[in-house]
């Protein structure tokens, strides 16, 4: 037990990633402010990035020295997150102009 605390390995990184992911999911499910929900989504994506990088390092340590696919994929995740944030915040601004609200329970135009 003490040895694994003193020498964190792949599983510790995976646990940190899982905790960040669940915190993000909790934020998406419980918060009312649409911008905070967006930020929770960024947290989820970041947890996925942490897993990618950790596994990339693990693959390098199992002898596959050129295994950087995880790092390359992380670059794409960051790009898509940036695009998503730009579009999402554009939608939030357009929504706020029309409905004067950022509470998700008041944005129910598509609800039947």
């Amino acid at each position: 037990m003490l040895h694994s605390v003193k020498n964190p390995d792949l599983s510790k990184f995976l646990v940190i990633g899982a905790l960040l992911f669940v915190i993000g999911v909790a934020g998406v499910l419980t918060r009312r402010n649409i911008i905070v929900i967006f930020m929770s989504i960024e947290l989820i994506l970041n947890a996925a990035n942490l897993n990618f990088i950790a596994f990339s390092r693990y693959l390098q340590d199992t002898g596959n020295v050129n295994a950087v696919a995880g790092q390359v994929f992380t670059v794409f995740v960051i790009v898509v997150a940036a695009a998503e944030a730009a579009i999402g915040l554009g939608i939030v601004i357009a929504l706020y102009r029309n409905k004067e609200t950022i509470w998700i329970d008041e944005i129910d135009l598509l609800k039947w």
């Binding site: 905790l19 669940v22 911008i35 970041n46 915040l89 706020y96």
Partner: protein, 226 residues
């Protein structure tokens, strides 16, 4: 991959910082505070990337996420709601919804921890030999690396390898990503236009313009650009 010594200390510092900043992101009442805590969480995760030997990704994370995306978030928060929660808005959803989602999250975290525990044990027994034999190889390669100018550390080739595989094996996705960013920029500019700006470039149906001009006389005076 086992960290030891100071690396382990820094791992725990940054891991706990990332978790706590993430928790505070979700729990803070004020959205601006949430954004600032999210920035700290992203910085701590960037430090974990450095510990994992992904210096380039850590730099990209700080430049793109903290420098770009989070500044955009802060701008939108300033535009849309400064302290709406403090003016008496409810922070959380309805209590029943919150309870159900908390139970769901608890089950999720238990399942994930169980899966990581079991899966990692399997991974360890599978890769034990490969890791042991690769360790000697890796140490030999580290001896071959160039020394930095201060002669205290060696310059790794990790970033070089990332660049190589990004442009050799992932060049098509790279181009697609650039097109995606272009589309996102144009899309968000189109989305965030005001009615007046849309009318100015003659982008509205005539009946919409007439209806809006009846409400807002200023709109009728906007001359089309063309």
């Amino acid at each position: 991959m086992v960290l030891s010594g100071w690396e382990a200390v820094f791992f725990w510092v940054f891991a706990i910082a990332a978790i706590f900043a993430g928790l505070l992101t979700v729990m803070a009442r004020n959205a601006v505070h949430s954004a600032l805590f999210l920035i700290s969480s992203l910085l701590a995760v960037a430090a974990l990337f450095v510990l994992l030997g992904a210096e380039f990704i850590a730099g990209v994370q700080i430049l793109v996420y903290v420098g770009g995306v989070m500044v955009l978030f802060l701008f939108v928060i300033m535009l849309v709601n400064v302290g709406a929660e403090e003016r008496g808005g409810q922070v959380l959803n309805k209590p029943r919804q919150v309870t159900v989602s908390m139970v769901f999250c608890l089950l999720l975290v238990l399942g994930l921890l169980f899966a990581i525990n079991v899966g990692y044990k399997g991974l360890q027994t599978r890769d034990e030999k490969a890791i042991a034999s690769a360790q000697a190889l890796r140490q030999g390669q580290q001896q071959d690396l160039h020394r930095g100018a201060t002669r205290t550390s060696r310059i790794t080739t990790d970033t070089e390898r990332v660049g190589n595989s990004l442009y050799r094996f992932a060049s098509l996705p790279f181009e697609i990503a650039s097109v995606l960013l272009l589309v996102a920029i144009i899309g968000s500019v189109m989305l965030a236009r005001t009615l007046k700006q849309e009318a100015a470039v003659d982008d509205l149906a005539p009946d919409v313009v007439a209806a809006e001009a009846a409400r807002d006389p200023e709109l009728a005076e906007t001359p089309p650009i063309s």
